[in-house]
C-alpha cells in the first residue's frame, strides 16, 4: 500500500492483506529463429492485495510471458518480481519456483482428463502433503457445492461442458487457498453467452474468497466489467501504457454494462488499445 492511488481503490483492497505483486523493471529476452526478441522491457506494475487486475494488450505482446514469470514457468532476464515483499525472482534467481500460492488457470484449460472433477479439485492439498485423499475429497465436495458444481463430481472433465470445466478449474485453484490467481484468457474459447455466465460466477467466487486476480484478456468489455483496474500494455516489448481505474463499485452485475460510466470507460480504453493493436498488426506479430 504505497501509492496514494491505492487509498481510493475499490473495496477489494480493504479485505485482503495478502497477494500484492510488485513487478519492477522486468525484462525478458529470448532467442528465436529471427534472433533475440525483447518480449518484456522495463515493465513495472504494482498489483494490490485482493484486487482484480486486468491485463489487456494485443496478441503476442508479452502478457503471457509476464504471467509465466510470476508463475515460475519461465525465467526473466532483468528486474525483480516479489509477492508480499518476498522475492519470487530477480537477478540472483531468474526463475521463480511454481507453487500453490500462485495458481494458474490456463487458456485452454488444464484439468487432468484422467482424473474425475472431484479428484482434480482434491489434487493440490494431497500433493502438498496437507491432506489425505479422503480429507481432500471431502473439502473439494464442499467447495464444489459452494460454487454450484453439484452432480458432476464423478464425471471426467471431458464429459462436462467447457464452461463447467472452467469453473471446476477455478475451484481447483482456490482449494489451495492461494494468494494470487493467475488467469490467462480463461474464457477465450467460450461462446459469449457462456462467457457472461462465467463472469458473474467468477465475481461470485471472488466476493467469497478475496484473492488477488491477475487476469489476461483481449476482451475490453470483460476487462472493465471484472477489473478494479485495467492495465493496457504496449505491443512488444510489453510494459504498461496506461492504467485505468474502474470506478464502478463492486459488487457488480450485468446491468453495469449498460451504464453510461461503463460506456465512457470503454471509449477511453478502446482508443488506447486500438493504437497498440495497429502497431502490433503492422509489425506482423504472431500469436504467442
Amino acid at each position: 500500500m504505497n501509492a496514494p492511488s491505492s487509498m481510493r481503490s475499490a473495496p477489494a483492497g480493504q479485505h485482503a492483506s495478502k497477494g500484492a505483486i510488485r513487478i519492477q523493471n522486468v525484462d525478458k529476452m529470448y532467442y528465436a529463429r529471427e534472433g533475440a526478441v525483447q518480449a518484456v522491457s522495463d515493465c513495472s506494475l504494482d498489483i494490490r492485495a485482493g484486487e482484480i487486475c486486468m491485463i489487456v494488450g494485443p496478441s503476442g505482446c508479452g502478457k503471457t510471458t509476464l504471467l509465466n514469470a510470476i508463475a515460475g514457468f519461465h525465467d526473466i532476464t532483468g528486474g525483480t518480481i516479489s509477492l508480499d515483499g518476498e522475492l519470487l525472482c530477480g537477478p540472483e534467481k531468474p526463475k521463480a519456483e511454481p507453487g500453490p500460492d500462485r495458481v494458474v488457470v490456463f487458456q485452454n484449460g488444464a484439468l487432468f482428463p484422467w482424473k474425475t472433477n472431484l479428484e482434480n479439485v482434491a489434487f493440490g492439498p494431497v500433493m502438498q502433503g496437507k491432506m489425505t485423499w479422503a480429507q481432500a475429497r471431502e473439502k473439494a465436495r464442499g467447495m464444489m457445492a459452494d460454487a454450484g458444481l453439484v452432480g458432476v463430481e464423478h464425471n471426467y472433465p471431458g464429459e462436462v461442458s467447457s464452461g463447467m470445466r472452467r469453473r471446476v478449474e477455478i475451484v481447483r485453484a482456490l482449494m489451495n487457498d492461494p494468494k494470487v490467481l493467475l488467469l490467462d484468457e480463461p474464457f477465450r474459447a467460450l461462446d459469449s453467452l457462456t462467457k457472461s455466465v462465467m463472469h458473474e460466477a467468477l465475481l461470485e467466487i471472488y466476493y467469497k474468497n478475496k484473492v488477488t486476480i491477475f487476469f489476461i484478456t483481449h476482451d475490453l468489455e470483460e476487462a472493465i466489467f471484472l477489473g478494479h483496474r485495467v492495465a493496457i500494455m504496449t505491443t512488444r516489448p510489453c510494459k504498461p501504457k496506461k492504467i485505468l481505474e474502474v470506478d464502478i463499485p463492486h459488487p457488480r452485475n450485468y446491468s453495469v454494462l449498460t451504464s453510461p460510466r461503463f460506456r465512457e470507460l470503454m471509449e477511453e480504453t478502446v482508443n488506447a488499445v486500438h493504437e497498440e493493436a495497429v502497431k502490433a498488426f503492422e509489425a506482423g506479430e504472431k500469436e504467442m
Binding site: 508463475a71 515460475g72 514457468f73 511454481p98 507453487g99 500453490p100 500462485r102 495458481v103 494458474v104 490456463f106 485452454n108 484449460g109 488444464a110 487432468f112 482428463p113 484422467w114 482424473k115 489434487f123 493440490g124 492439498p125 500433493m127 502438498q128 453439484v150 452432480g151 458432476v152 463430481e153 464423478h154 464425471n155 471426467y156 471431458g158 464429459e159 462436462v160 461442458s161 467447457s162 481447483r172 485453484a173 489451495n176
Partner: protein
Amino acid sequence: MANGKQATSAGEIGAWDIFTYRFSKWLRSPTPYRMFVGFALFFGAWFLLSEVFRVWRFASLPGPRQVLTEWLNPNPVYGMSLYTPEYYTHVWMSLRRVLIAFVIATGLGVPYGLFLGWSRNFREFTFPVFETLRPIPVLAWVPLAIVMFRGDETPVIFLTTLASFYATALNTMLGVQSIDEAYPRAAACLGASKWQIFRHIIIPGALPFIFTGLQISVGVAWFSLVAAEMVSGEYGLGYLINTSYVNVQYPVIIIGMISVGVVGYVSSALVRFAGDYLMQWRVRELALGGGR
C-alpha cells in the same frame, strides 16, 4: 435429490456396462455384417481359385475345404487337427513364448520409454543407440541369439522380445512428448513434486500412446515369434509351419497360419480391452459423454 442421484449413477458406470452397451450397439450397426461379408468373400475367392477353377499357381495351394476337413478330422491325414493333442502343444508353446516376451518387452519398454520422454539427458545418452539397433531385423539377430543363449527356449523368447520392446518404448516416448505442457505446469502450480508429476501426470498422460504401442507390440511379437520358431526351437506354430513345409504337408501349413492369425487377433483384442479398462476417462468421453 434428483441431482445427487444422477451423480452416483454416473459414478457407477463400470467397464462391464460399457462393454455391454458397446456390444449391443455394435450388433445393431452394420459393422458385424460387413465383417461377415468380408470373410465370406475372402474364403469364397480362395475356394473358387484353388478348388473349383484351379487357376494357375493356385492349383498347388490347398483349398479351404481341404484345410477345414483336415482341421476338423478326428483322424487327420497328416496327423494334425483339432483332435490331436500335438496341435494344442504347438499353440500353447507359441502362446507361452509370446506371453513371456510380451511381459518382458512391456516391463522394460514402458519404463524405458517414459524416461526417454521425461529426461532429456537420458534421451541424449541412449536414444541414438536405440535408433541404431531398431532397424536391425529380428532375423539378423538369429545367429547371435543362438550363440548367446542356451537351450531352445531362451533364444526364441529373446528374438520375440526385441521388436516388441522397440515398438513399446518408442510409442511410450511419443506418448510422454505428446502431453500438453499445461498439465505438468498445472500440477507444479498445485504443489506437486517432480516425482508426483511423473506418477500423476506423465504416466496417465502417456497411456493412450502406450496402449497403441502395446497393440503394435503384440502384433510384432507374433510376427517375430513365427520367424524365430522357423529357425530354432522345438514345437510352436512357426515350427509347425516350417516342418510341414519340409514334410510336404501343405494343409497343415495353412492350419498353422490361420491359428497364428486367430490367436494374434484375440491377443490384440485383449490388450485393447485392458487399455479401455485403464483409460475409463477416454472410453466415457467417446462412448457416453461429450458435452452434456
